[in-house]
Symmetry: C2
Subunit: 497 residues, 2 copies
Amino acid sequence: MFEDAELGHKMSKEDFDRELPALREKLLEAQFALLESKRFPVLLLINGVDGAGKGETVNALHEWLDPRHVQSVAFGAPSDEERDRPEMWRFWRALPPKGKIGIFFGNWYTAPLVRRVLGESRKVELEQSLSTIEHFERMLTDEGVLLLKFWFHLSKKTQKQKLEELSGNKRTRWRVTPQDWSNASRYDEFRAVCDRVLRETSTGNAPWIVIDGSDDRYRTMAVGKTLLSALERRLAAAPGSHERSQAKPAPISVRDEKGTNVLRALDLGKVLAKKDYGDRLEKLQGKLNQLSRHRRFADKSLVCVFEGPDAGGKGGAIRRVTRSLDARVYRVIPVAAPTEEERAQPYLWRFWRHVPRKGHAVIFDRSWYGRVLVERVESFCSEEDWRRAYAEINDFEEQLVQSGSVLCKFWLQVSEEEQLRRFQERKQTGFKQFKITDEDWRNREKWGAYERAACDMIDQCSTEIAPWTLVAANDKYSARVHVLQTLCDRLESALGD
Amino acid sequence: MFEDAELGHKMSKEDFDRELPALREKLLEAQFALLESKRFPVLLLINGVDGAGKGETVNALHEWLDPRHVQSVAFGAPSDEERDRPEMWRFWRALPPKGKIGIFFGNWYTAPLVRRVLGESRKVELEQSLSTIEHFERMLTDEGVLLLKFWFHLSKKTQKQKLEELSGNKRTRWRVTPQDWSNASRYDEFRAVCDRVLRETSTGNAPWIVIDGSDDRYRTMAVGKTLLSALERRLAAAPGSHERSQAKPAPISVRDEKGTNVLRALDLGKVLAKKDYGDRLEKLQGKLNQLSRHRRFADKSLVCVFEGPDAGGKGGAIRRVTRSLDARVYRVIPVAAPTEEERAQPYLWRFWRHVPRKGHAVIFDRSWYGRVLVERVESFCSEEDWRRAYAEINDFEEQLVQSGSVLCKFWLQVSEEEQLRRFQERKQTGFKQFKITDEDWRNREKWGAYERAACDMIDQCSTEIAPWTLVAANDKYSARVHVLQTLCDRLESALGD
């Protein structure tokens, strides 16, 4: 992996000075075309050994490009707001929007590498991190992000020389920290781990670009040219034609469209008497309230998702949940059309931004499942896009759960007849009229398509850590009790009581 | 202030049950009208004595309203990201957008009150905080925020009873903390300080609404009705007709339009020879780089603003600054049209969101001064709006500086003739063509109006803590050196070297 980068590539001053003006002009042109088109974001990852000129090279890029549309971020120790959420949250929040260039130092490779080299993690943990990274990067590139992963390399000998040179000069001494020397003493281990990591994470859409860092001019020019050619290639290609991962085709369930399915198998005839409902509701709400005040909840969070046909009772169920919680603890996110800032980001960004801190709850009224439901049925996205969404959603949910979120997903199912009855009722009731629109009537006509999409979704995304709870909702009372009971059970088991 | 609220107002269960259904229906209707119109945001402040039912009342509001469009935030200890910025930053970031309702517990009144009661701040510091608050609230209401400030009160005796009741019941015991008892023991001091604070901060547009908290039903109904009537009143009024503060008319400078002014008085003939430029630039860039790495810079931040006529050389000057800094330290914000999310917030919100953390720099290419420049000249906002902006901007900048930002504002002035020369040059030069648009030519025709606006801006906003630096920019070399020299001087003096 690193053999070529240890050969000591050089570039003469003459060659550099001759090539630079044209490169700069072309880079600016490409950057401007990117900005105007707003077709995709560009993300550069900057990694490698200490002393290999990472900072200098990025400074040169900032100089060559229009710095108003480039943002470099160095991720140091996470802030407390970041520590309270999944590890990848800090990267999501810093992603560049379409049209802009982001440069990440100290990115998602840093912690897994350092932990492994220092012996703080086992091989299997490194493998897990790499798998998370691979999925994340696949999502980015599938979403159209132009991802360039630079690895700045130096041979052991050259690194020692560089560090000594820097330490020897009064003006650059500050740049060499004791940590750098300590890292250098582990060069061989570091090289071995990195070699392996780079091999495993060099994928078709996001290969590693290994740069010999020993010569300033060679290194900078190499990075500049790589960026330029990647930008030009993508800009010349037809919009949306970027290479996508070989979608692992989601396993397909063969279903008899006339026969039964998980939704039809629900017993929608269940009824709970009003009196029993009142008693059970009160008890469950009291319990949920207690659980949300449990001392161990300060280390957890709650994420609820409500999906299901229109008029399935999502709003009513949500109100029974929020009523049990203190207003300071929860937030309800009604999912509507994405804003302009959200449209400039990968699909899941607008949900990641609402991931709660520890001790808090977020309730999504409709959710990221829109991709595989309404967007699929209405052809708002391509088949490729919704097919890959299942895996992306599972990754997202896995990260939520791993970071301490209790994730509860409710599908509130009503029959076609019951939906019609509720629509008509809403038309009658003054203050409920706003709840019914032409779109609701149109969606009814696609009942079958929605049902099929829902069944696929449940098949694909009802995982062990984040199961779907299917709620028979023709009877509102029993549906609400079912939701609250499930929430209490899930929280109780997560809090270990 | 509190006399009425200590009378022990009560509401019978019969009255409550009779009035509630209509109130709820009307509240929902008003909330929906607000959401549809997206005309203004609603912000409720929740303050008062412990045990007076603040949490319960807000929980009731969440129950009565559609909780999907209400967000309650309890501000506890600030996060590290918040501590690194001006105190008000955490409130700015949580402001509800137009159409939504925000409820703030532990808001901007909490810290000043608590500090004063505990004797941690002096009277004069409390006065300063109140003045900041008054300006902030005036800005909010002038921007159209419907601001309702609720104070929940209890007499000393009733508070003691309530706390004892809560402590005595196994289910509510957790709600009374040792801090609550300790606060209760200072009831008289607390009441006296609060009485004064409420009097001083009860303004025409944002009066305090003092609620007797002793009876659940009375209290909740009173808050619900107050909210409803405020909402209905504002919704019924013509858009934009909300009461505005009596604009303190900014002092007006009488200027002879043909005579001199601060811009015309600049010596635009200054020229710096290329050789001298090279030397001085290199030295200044080296110095700026060192200053940005100064250990005390970790406790400061740098905010730069660049304004001036088109083709005044802002971009070039910014690049000379960024070239001196490490890419990981700074961010350039090109100010363009606000996004949808930004338009749903008060004017300054889109600048507050970019306020840097300590140890970082943000460079604004055009800025919040757009309000009193382009928006004034092109009538993008009302005269009232830009007139009040001077004071709002001064408040914003004062908070930046108080929190440790070094704020440098540069006006790069070129003559009409030099601007024309540069426009024509740009038309010739291939890769600079994109920098010139029809709008640039149109703006030239309004040279006089822009000049007048700039002179007013400098008069109003060149404060001692945040002076404008007027840069003669016909000669790019001397302009850049002027900018860098100023930056170095300001930073040096702030870092105390």
